[in-house]
């Protein structure tokens, strides 16, 4: 089977699985509406919180209101896109303890692909669209954003998604080795939440740690800095290198974990 045909097959599979997961989500329309409402409330409240702080202080570590909003919304976009595409990871523990993971291993679909993209959460779509709208508003209000900076912003957002996916692969690998998924996943999400604000608020060595060791800074803060023209070309290259290395490391750990999988349940 040619490369293109295979990719088309996987995209079709993703649509089918997302369709099935969405049907499940809307079994209780009341619950779906409430969850969506909760996500929107959280989004609006946090924007309001930023507005309150900046209106009282004029700036946070030198950043204006729209710049702070761009940091938050960029975080939100990457976080929501990762949640949308990688929602299946949240269901992984069940697959391990129920034995379904063994069943996936026998299927003619790369198991990592199945576990990462096995059904997206449709309820994240409104938040993603809202984030995109706010990014346009923030960029136009900040002013002076050049086309090259905008392109670097897009490249670094994709790089952020790659880093987020790598973390999710690590979570899966830990899940295969220990059957522990939920806590690791939520720990990762809490660490990335540190990127809701410009990482300049953190003091060293914490700032260095969350920039390069646990690359939250590279993942969610650097794209916004690039759009504002605050990132040198060298740092952009280093960011891409960090993204590539994180992906390489996580896939190696994943392969290591698969070799040690002993089929805990079935």
């Amino acid at each position: 089977m040619g490369g293109n045909t295979r990719i088309l097959k996987y995209i079709k599979l993703w649509f089918m699985m997302t369709g099935m997961v969405s049907q499940n989500t809307f079994v209780s329309r009341f619950g779906a509406v409430l969850f969506l409402l909760g996500k929107l409330i959280r989004f609006v409240f946090f924007l309001f919180f930023l507005l309150i702080i900046v209106s009282r202080t004029q700036a946070i570590v030198g950043y204006t209101l729209w710049q702070v909003i761009l940091f938050y919304i960029t975080f939100n976009l990457i976080d929501s896109l990762a949640q949308f595409f990688l929602r299946e990871v949240y269901r992984f523990r069940n697959y391990v303890v129920s034995g379904d993971f063994d069943y996936f291993l026998t299927k003619p679909v790369p198991v990592l692909l199945r576990l990462l993209f096995g059904g997206s959460d449709i309820l994240d779509v409104p938040i993603i669209l809202l984030s995109v709208g706010f990014i346009f508003a923030a960029l136009s209000n900040i002013g002076g954003v050049t086309i090259p900076n905008l392109l670097i912003y897009l490249v670094l957002v994709i790089n952020g998604l790659v880093i987020s996916m790598s973390f999710h692969i690590l979570v899966l690998a830990i899940g295969v080795l220990t059957a522990e998924v939920d806590n690791t996943l939520w720990l990762f999400r809490d660490i990335t939440q540190m990127g809701r604000f410009p990482i300049d608020i953190y003091k060293n060595p914490l700032r260095q740690i969350i920039t390069f060791i646990i690359p939250v800074g590279v993942m969610v803060t650097f794209p916004a800095k690039a759009a504002m023209g605050l990132l040198s070309f060298n740092i952009v290259l280093i960011s891409l290198l960090v993204g590539g290395l994180t992906l390489y490391f996580s896939t190696r750990v994943w392969q290591f974990s698969l070799k040690r999988y002993t089929s805990a349940s079935s």
Partner: protein, 264 residues
């Protein structure tokens, strides 16, 4: 009384059984706390003032929310809805225990463990970050702080229980709780003291229960409130405790009448 002590102790032991899970939960709490701590450290530099909050007062407030979170917001009653939905409630109705006291005892066991961890974490934060901290020494404020915290604890217990009772009429118990937690996270004052909000919003919030779960007790501790403000705040707090208690009782009675415990 002894049986409720044993229930609380069992909850404590349960948490020790799943140690890794609990420790991860506490690590997450520290990360969330540090994020807000560093944000406010950056927003109010030493020597500056924001609407009456100096850096030591603001950081005391933020660190105080961590302890209040353990005392007030750590709870097991989120499981009540599941118990009703799964039919497990029937097991409790047949036992010689009061269902409310049972959950309150579980809450106490949970809170005690969380408080121990919160104190350890705060000690570590003090050792490593050496934050400027405001120590309240006036026994007047300390006593009112303790009294207000006790009311908050009861209020949160009944609110949480009330949310669980949705399980009598709907299997959808998590979505309403998700909205509640989102609103609580903002209006209880865990991210910021509520009095930095615009005046009109703050005046409305003063009449809602969320304000009295975290913000109000810490404000008493900081010595920011006059005796009139403390007494009026405690009165509103007490009103909400009794109001929510009676609503819970009423809904519990209605729920039990319609309860069918299918599958059991």
């Amino acid at each position: 009384m002894k049986k409720y002590y044993l229930i609380a102790k069992n909850t404590w032991d349960e948490m020790l059984t799943y140690r890794a899970s609990f420790v991860m939960w506490r690590v997450r709490n520290i990360i969330q706390l540090l994020t807000i701590y560093f944000l406010w450290s950056a927003v109010i530099p030493p020597g500056k003032n924001l609407l009456g909050y100096t850096q030591p007062l603001m950081l005391t407030y933020i660190l105080g929310t961590s302890l209040m979170d353990s005392i007030v917001l750590s709870s097991r009653t989120y499981a009540v809805g599941n118990e009703i939905n799964s039919g497990n409630l029937m097991n409790f109705l047949l036992r010689p225990v009061n269902y409310f006291s049972y959950w309150f005892a579980r809450d106490l066991g949970d809170k005690l463990m969380n408080i121990c961890f919160a104190i350890t974490e705060l000690t570590l934060i003090f050792l490593f970050l050496r934050p400027p901290f405001f120590f309240q020494t006036d026994p007047f404020y300390l006593l009112f702080f303790i009294f207000s915290t006790a009311l908050s604890l009861l209020m949160y217990f009944f609110i949480n229980f009330l949310l669980g009772l949705i399980g009598f009429w709907s299997p959808e118990i998590w979505a309403p709780r998700f909205i509640f937690i989102t609103i609580l996270g903002f209006f209880a004052g865990s991210l910021f003291p509520l009095d930095i909000l615009p005046r009109t919003i703050y005046e409305i919030l003063k009449f809602l229960p969320f304000t009295y779960l975290m913000y109000f007790p810490i404000k008493i501790y900081l010595g920011h409130l006059s005796i009139f403000e403390i007494l009026s705040g405690l009165s509103i707090s007490a009103f909400w405790v009794f109001a929510i208690y009676f609503i819970v009782k009423l809904i519990w009675r209605k729920g039990i009448r319609s309860y069918t415990a299918y599958g059991r």
